[in-house]
């Protein structure tokens, strides 16, 4: 049981890392980025090809994260501009359709260029004992990276001027403009950051299991569930929800079966919307 829960935590930290990028973008402007998972896959394929070209793993990983960051920034500066000019329901809908289109384009292009593409990063080292349970070195490293990113994000949003500016746009966009904050600038930076985080997810996930070219859809759905459960726009909420859902996933996969876990996770999201519409930490954001 202890091992199952630890596995869940490892999985959940990855979920949190995946969800946090989507939740921030949503909190800032009401856009659910359905291309989020595909950006991660894009990063994975870039890393895989760089490694195949003889570039050291660490350098390749950095290149992949940068590629994802640039792709997201480009997306924000081009296709997302008309979306943010809309308001209310139109913005939500246009955002969904456009990012879905982008997801198809990225998936199509990657599958066409590299149909068997997959990223697998082998972390050398013997299993590390955590609370008496031997954990694969890859799992431990992936979790450490996720925790470090979570800590960095919390410091960034809690203690820096720009981080506070981001939170102010989430809370009251007009109020933010009145103190001189440009929502467009904040959104561009966060969209790029969200892309970078998707790149980090690609790297950490491939430390535990291969990330294949067709994984994008599942990643996006997971990110969506984590965002909803954690509270849209909340960094701490995304990681908390990620870990809880990771444990749920791992336990249900162990005791019921893997086929049922996606349904259990979706059920958790639906339940959250019904019982706690703002998510775990959505109302505490700020």
């Amino acid at each position: 049981m202890k091992a199952v829960i630890l596995d869940g935590i490892v999985l959940g930290l990855g979920f949190g890392l995946l969800g946090v990028g989507m939740t921030l973008v949503y909190g800032l402007g009401g856009v659910l980025n359905l291309a989020h998972g595909e950006v991660a896959v894009l990063a994975a394929i870039v890393v895989a090809q760089a490694m195949a070209g003889g570039i050291p793993t660490a350098v390749a990983a950095v290149i992949g994260v940068l590629a994802a960051t640039s792709a997201a920034l480009l997306l924000d500066l081009t296709l997302m501009r008309p979306v943010y000019r809309q308001t209310g329901g139109h913005r939500v809908l246009l955002g969904l359709l456009l990012t879905l289109g982008v997801a198809f384009m990225i998936e199509g292009a990657l599958t066409w260029r590299d149909p068997l593409g997959a990223l697998s990063i082998n972390v050398p080292g013997r299993p590390i004992s955590v609370l008496g349970v031997p954990m694969a070195a890859g799992s431990v490293w992936a979790s450490v990276i996720a925790l470090a990113v979570a800590a960095a994000l919390l410091v960034f949003f809690g203690a820096t001027i720009f981080g506070r500016a981001v939170r102010s746009v989430i809370q009251d966009e007009l109020g933010a403009r009145l103190v001189g904050i440009s929502p467009a600038l904040v959104r561009a930076v966060i969209f790029a950051l969200s892309g970078g985080l998707a790149g980090v997810v690609a790297v950490t996930q491939s430390m535990t299991a291969p990330l294949t070219v067709n994984a994008g859809f599942n990643l996006t759905v997971t990110a969506l569930i984590v965002s909803v459960v954690g509270g849209l726009g909340s960094v701490a909420g995304a990681f908390l929800a990620g870990v809880l859902l990771g444990i749920v996933d791992s336990v249900s996969a162990y005791y019921i079966g893997r086929y049922i876990t996606s349904i259990v996770l979706l059920g958790a999201a639906v339940l959250t919307i019904l019982v706690w519409p703002r998510g775990l930490l959505g109302s505490l954001q700020g």
């Binding site: 001027i161 720009f162 506070r164 500016a165 939170r167 102010s168 809370q171 009251d172 007009l174 109020g175 933010a176 403009r177 009145l178 103190v179 001189g180 904050i181 440009s182 929502p183 109302s283 505490l284 954001q285 700020g286």
Partner: protein
């Protein structure tokens, strides 16, 4: 001659308004006269349909609100738009965006609104209406604005608190900040103003010193219920 409105309809039109450095100017007018529309157009939240907005000789007509704020034009809307879930302190810090707030400004703000010093760790949403109004003005002051625009600062305040708010504004006048206040409570507005404009159905119908406006039979009849 500024004009602005919504969906092609001009709410305010033919506005000729001037505010000189260091002055306190009041815009008085009843509900629906167009005070908020006029302010939104000046502050960059609403693109004017005609005319120009000039700041220090520079045409700033199409500047968005965030750029106007950085250029020293602080607008405090009647709804305040505070960051409710954040503390008073964070609200004040964001007022100084993009720089860190300096001691001196913070101290001068606390001098005007001493109560805020005691509430620094409290979340803005938990403040009373009067305190929120103070915080909104204080947040605007943190950016060291040259022009402070206040839309109906008496909104939602009991008469005594509204009077206190205007007393605080009167205290601001000596500090070099230029004031533009929209208010439907004419006596309050005229108590701080050096000059006033009367806005009626989207147009300026009168202007003059508080004394002139106060004595004007039209103003007395329409806004003071006298005559």
């Amino acid at each position: 001659m500024l004009a602005a409105g919504y969906l092609g309809q001009r709410v305010v039109d033919g506005i000729d308004l001037e505010v000189r450095p260091g002055e306190a100017v009041a815009i008085i007018g009843s509900n629906g006269a167009g005070k908020t529309t006029l302010f939104r157009a000046i502050a960059g939240l609403l693109r004017p349909m005609a005319g120009r907005v000039i700041l220090d000789g520079r045409d700033v007509t199409r500047w968005p609100a965030q750029r106007m704020a950085k250029a020293g034009v602080a607008y405090v809307p009647a709804e305040r738009h505070l960051f409710g879930a954040m503390t008073v302190k964070t609200n004040l810090m964001l007022g100084a965006y993009p720089t860190r707030p300096d001691r001196e400004t913070l101290e001068s703000v606390f001098e005007i609104f001493p109560l805020l010093r005691e509430r620094l760790q409290q979340r803005a949403v938990t403040l009373s209406g009067g305190q929120q109004q103070m915080l909104a003005v204080a947040r605007a002051l943190m950016g060291r604005p040259r022009l402070l625009m206040l839309d109906e600062p008496s909104t939602g305040l009991a008469p005594k608190l509204a009077k206190d708010a205007f007393d605080a504004l009167a205290g601001l006048k000596g500090t070099g900040v230029t004031l533009l206040v929209a208010e439907q409570q004419v006596p309050l507005a005229l108590s701080v103003a050096d000059r006033g404009y009367v806005l009626e159905n989207g147009r300026i119908s009168l202007d003059g010193t508080p004394r002139e406006l106060d004595q004007n039979p039209e103003v007395r009849r329409a806004y003071l219920g006298i005559g």
